[in-house]
Symmetry: C2
Subunit: 210 residues, 2 copies
């Protein structure tokens, strides 16, 4: 009833203003994300998307062809932002920590789960996610490794990435572990580096225990 409460406001009818029109598409995708993450692509109905976005089905159809169109647009917009955060002045260890933390967040675990689930129907989304995710992460790891340890150590970039994800990431894909904490991510990154002999010279060598 509180007509000014943005959470309960009933969207007014009629043609939107220019700014509203610009934002509408992004709002729809933003609203679709948690719906798809929670229920999975196949179980989401168009009405759910419309309700979540606080628009009608007709409006969504004016922006996208169908449910597949909303889904692919959402995944693409998310996938291309995965690698956008590029504070290039960090160390190998801090880069590893950020990768562990980011890839084990609830959103990215859910996105990965969605794309795996629909990789048969949307193979191009799988390719997009990998190109913008894993491939860029590995390339960036390789750059840092080359800078700190020389060209000879570069082949360890991909195994390092694999270890950064580790069994924990597999468990999270299966819903068997909660999202990682920052402290856990740091610890995990250090141990992965140690396993491959990639400890930074300036950093204390962490004990392998626990």
């Amino acid at each position: 009833m509180t007509a000014h409460d943005p959470a309960h406001r009933v969207r007014k009818r009629g043609r939107p203003t220019a700014s509203e029109r610009v934002e509408r598409r992004a709002q729809i995708l933003e609203a679709a994300l948690p719906i798809f993450l929670e229920h999975g692509y196949g179980n989401v109905t168009f009405d759910q998307l419309a309700t979540a976005a606080r628009v009608t089905k007709r409006t969504i159809y004016s922006y996208f062809d169908d449910k597949a169109g909303v889904f692919t647009a959402m995944v693409r917009s998310l996938a291309t932002t995965v690698s956008s955060d590029a504070p290039d002045q960090d160390t190998l260890e801090s880069l590893c920590t950020r990768i562990v933390y980011r890839l084990n967040s609830a959103d990215l675990i859910g996105l990965h789960r969605l794309v795996i689930a629909e990789s048969t129907r949307f193979p191009e989304l799988a390719q997009t996610l990998h190109d913008n995710g894993d491939a860029r992460h590995i390339a960036r790891l390789a750059d840092h490794i080359r800078a700190e340890f020389g060209q000879v150590a570069v082949p360890r970039a991909q195994p390092l990435f694999t270890l950064l994800l580790g069994e924990e990431h597999r468990k999270r894909l299966l819903g068997l572990l909660p999202p990682v904490s920052l402290a856990e991510a740091e610890d995990h990154a250090r141990r992965a580096l140690a396993l491959l002999g990639l400890q930074s010279s300036k950093t204390t060598v962490p004990t392998q225990a626990e």
Copy 2:
């Protein structure tokens, strides 16, 4: 298969014999597997399951409650056979090769994909798959590592398992790589062991080059 080829024989009507009754349930699950693997749980209809199993919907309902019942029974029966092959007399390297080969087979990739996709709706299946899959594999790797390298090396069992899967397994979950060949599996296993310093004393140390 054998005399009564299920692909060409028209199943007779009426109450099945005792042996038919025993086999019917397994046949339904066997027929359901490729259907679920190809289309994903949410997109499979009961009629598809019935057609694939060469029975009617009524019959399936006499064995299972609903589609979820067929799915969970199928996944459970498959998951419990994942770790059944136990030629305990092999080396660490041959064990690793078998793990790489098996977990990258089309069937297990598809099963894993299915369970990941439905982990929200069927969390107990995710737990079952992990308990009967990853957990047992890691335990067996730990046994071999302890026998060959002593207790101190046992903590490397889980990282080893992670490296055995590697980026390739992630790509296969996304449908970006075909199933692994036996030769590739061997090569991959050797390189993973070398990265963690777990080369067997009797084996030639493989070069790190790709």
